[in-house]
Amino acid sequence: MANTYTLISSNVLSASATSITFSAIPSTYTDLVLRISARSDSTFSSGIPESLVVTFNGSGASNYSKTTLYGNGANALSVRDTATANAILSFNAVGNGVTANTFGNAEIYVPSYLSSTSKPFSSFGTGENNATTAYIAANAALWNNTVAITSTTIIPGNGSNWLSSSSFYLYGIKNS
């Protein structure tokens, strides 16, 4: 059980931006946690929330995989992707086509980010919409690379930009 939870760095957007990168991540923690509240400029209006497209160390090699489970009360679905150039963590943010001033939220947990084995990670989130349909999603993902994680980048899956007031917080956890 983690006994520390330390803010490493954060950014609250004052203007739109396409990508957010946390670089030079210190190697003094055991696990990493990303907490995100975000809205993109996606024009999807069907209530389908945005996705978080995550890469580590700037790697675009096809060594990511993920399983997504999500539902909205009417449908429950599962999607599996392998050997992709990034991890698309579905339905953890919202696009600009849904209720104004709402933001999706998500937590991405990366255990043992310094290990010399492949890096499993997970996320859990909801796409707030203040409407009758709400989505919830859980993602189990893997970055099949043995180097320590020193940076991570997050871009929107459907839109081109994260909108102003989207916020990104990176925490470090130590187990001792």
Binding site: T18, S19, T21, V53, I88
Partner: protein, 71 residues
């Protein structure tokens, strides 16, 4: 202009810069992949719902009655 924000966690410095052509291409590829996955999932959900409704009609029972049978 599309901007990238990089936060250096060691120095605390934040850099804002235009995306490179390579980054723009990678983002566009991710968007296409995401749209494909979303479409596939929605098609599957619709097909599953249709098949379920057809089966219930064939059996002549309601969804609630089917739940009772499986409980």
């Amino acid at each position: 202009m599309t901007m990238a924000i990089e936060i250096n966690c060691t120095t605390g410095e934040t850099i804002e810069r235009p995306l490179t052509a390579e980054e723009i291409a990678a983002n566009e590829a991710a968007a296409v992949e995401q749209a494909t996955r979303t479409h596939e999932a929605e098609v599957k959900a619709a097909a599953d719902a249709e098949a379920k409704a057809a089966l219930l009609t064939k059996l002549g029972i309601t969804a609630d009655e089917a739940k009772l049978l499986l409980a």
